[in-house]
């Protein structure tokens, strides 16, 4: 379900959030830091620091929406151990 079949709207949204967040992370952590010597400005809430810290939250949401159901590997272990169908 990485890219093999059509994505549901929730998964597509998750994929978009993931891609955008990774771009923000890389841009702020590497480009902005290497050109300005830091992310943001001491003592104020700057756009760069706000974007970078927002990416900290968005990276939790994006992949979850995109790939968020219980992985097959975990389900199989449970079914083998309990003998019942896992959720």
């Amino acid at each position: 379900m990485f890219f093999g079949e059509a994505l549901k709207p929730k998964e597509l949204l998750g994929l978009v959030i993931t891609v955008v967040t990774v771009i923000i992370l890389l841009y702020e952590a590497f480009y902005v830091n290497l050109t300005t010597g830091g992310i943001g400005t001491k003592g104020v809430v700057s756009t760069h620091a706000a974007l970078f810290s927002a990416s900290f939250l968005l990276i939790l949401i994006g992949p979850w929406l995109w790939l968020g159901e219980v992985p097959l590997a975990v389900k199989k272990i449970i079914e083998a151990k309990t003998g019942t169908k896992a959720k």
Partner: protein, 608 residues
Amino acid sequence: MYPILLLVIVLVLYGLAYVFYGKKLLEQRVAKADPTRLTPAYAKFDGVDYVPANKYVLYGHHFASIAGAGPIVGPATALAWGWLLPLVWVLFGNIFIGAVHDYMAIMASTRHGGVSIMTISESVMGRKARYIFLIYVWFALILVLAAFFSVAAATYEAVPTAATMAILYMPLALLFGLLVYRAGLKVKSATVLLLILVFLMLMYSFYAPTYLTYEGWVIVLALYSIIAAALPVWYLLQPRDYLNAYLLWFFVALAVVAPLLVPVIGFTGPAVIGFAATGALLGAPAGTFPAGQYIAWFWPTVPLVIACGALSGFHSVVGSGTTSKQLANELDALLVGYGGMLTEGAVSSLAVILPAALVWDFASIAKSAGISLDLLLKAGIDVAKTPNILGFPGAPRFYTAYGFTQAIAWSRVFGVEVFPAFFTGFKTFAAWALTAFILTTLDTCNRLARFAWVEMFEWLKPKTLSNPKGLSGYGVLTNRWVASLIPVLVGGILAYPTIPGVGKPYIILWPAFSGTNQLLAALALLTSTLWVYAILKVRGGPSALMLIPALFLWITVTAALLVWLVLIVPYLPPLYIAGAGTITAVSVALDLLLLALFIRGILLARRA
């Protein structure tokens, strides 16, 4: 005293405690752990909270969840009494109370289908006990959230390179989970790959500070704890905490190696400064009457300062909350519960107290280590302004001492000229480690507050399946997001303002958080003792070994909280009288009710 001697004493004590007190007594004679019994992780698997985990993964999760700011900031703050008294309390509390309490909470929960210690209290103390316990825990968790938001935000503001590492670490942890669970990569291969990436990111973060205000960080952390607490455990919590276990081992290993590199340099700090410190230690604002009075007596007030390093009630909520739901085998519980608590004690004794005792007097340690005062200044330590470690507040006291000790040790290998660079590097590492542990605690804490909240309103649950949401409001009240939002909102409000005469709010919030937390430990240990006595029918010596420390702790903490409520709270700003003061006063009242129910439970069990 030489650091290497202290190191040997601590390691031998912990080794003996694990084998004789943990394995021989608790596992084999009290809990009688059985590897063939199906655990709730399998029996009640739901893919969100009940998910079996590898014992090392679970150890990582459990340790990372229990080790927040407590084992670090508490002992660092307690150095106001000197280094010996806090060390004795950490070792005693760890072996005889904390580790026993954690292990028994996990085992009791595992035998009851993974339910919380609060629900277990119902089976031994009655229905009222369960609801009183739930309310108590929910309030205590709010104080944990408030104190930890404040400590983490203050650390990110003071060490902006640690903030960058914390942000870069999150996608790496998620990547680990996806590689193992989805891409089918072997755990070992994924671990090696991720550890290399983490190391590279850590190196990079030394040159990449993230500047955000204290208030900005409080908001980010509050949002983080809401989101992270709602995610399935296999997605973030298990992989991130597994990696955190490596961070912890590396962190403790460095603390163990450092004394070996400086075998002939003795401690520069005083073993005992005094049995009483000023009220400022308990959060009294500067300029108020108690701030200058010597009212912080080591006994009984030590539990208001040292929390999780010695013992913690929060651990019973974690152990019977997220950990027992992931336990794959009953025999794993000793490593996870008892071993996890001893490891946390090692953090306090070896990574906090030992480094601080060593580098206490900066000029003196610099002279012993052959480092000039100019090099110290280059590293950012001005001996004229800050002559000793007590010149820093709790959290900076820890990462300064840890960074300083490591820099001295490694500069003996690489030359003294590397001291300033090593000091900065290890200080960042220590600050990041501190906040990494806090972050895991924040989301586990909010998850547990959600569990407690949902359990609290179980009496509203609709009886019919045809109308599952019901008209009672149960559906709305227990909604995952609503249940997560309320404690974070209250905790965030308490953590947000910077207070004149105090600084960051965690200085005021700490005694309230620590005291209610320690009282919770006493109550949870009493509950476990009653469970052992009434349900497992273990009588005599083994149950007395649990009961006596539990009662001693209960008396100590209750007395300490009364001291704080009477002598300190009236001088706090109004928000904190209404918030931390009220929560603590309510907690003491609930505590007395629970004690009465415990005594009744013991009497009933004796008659049965």
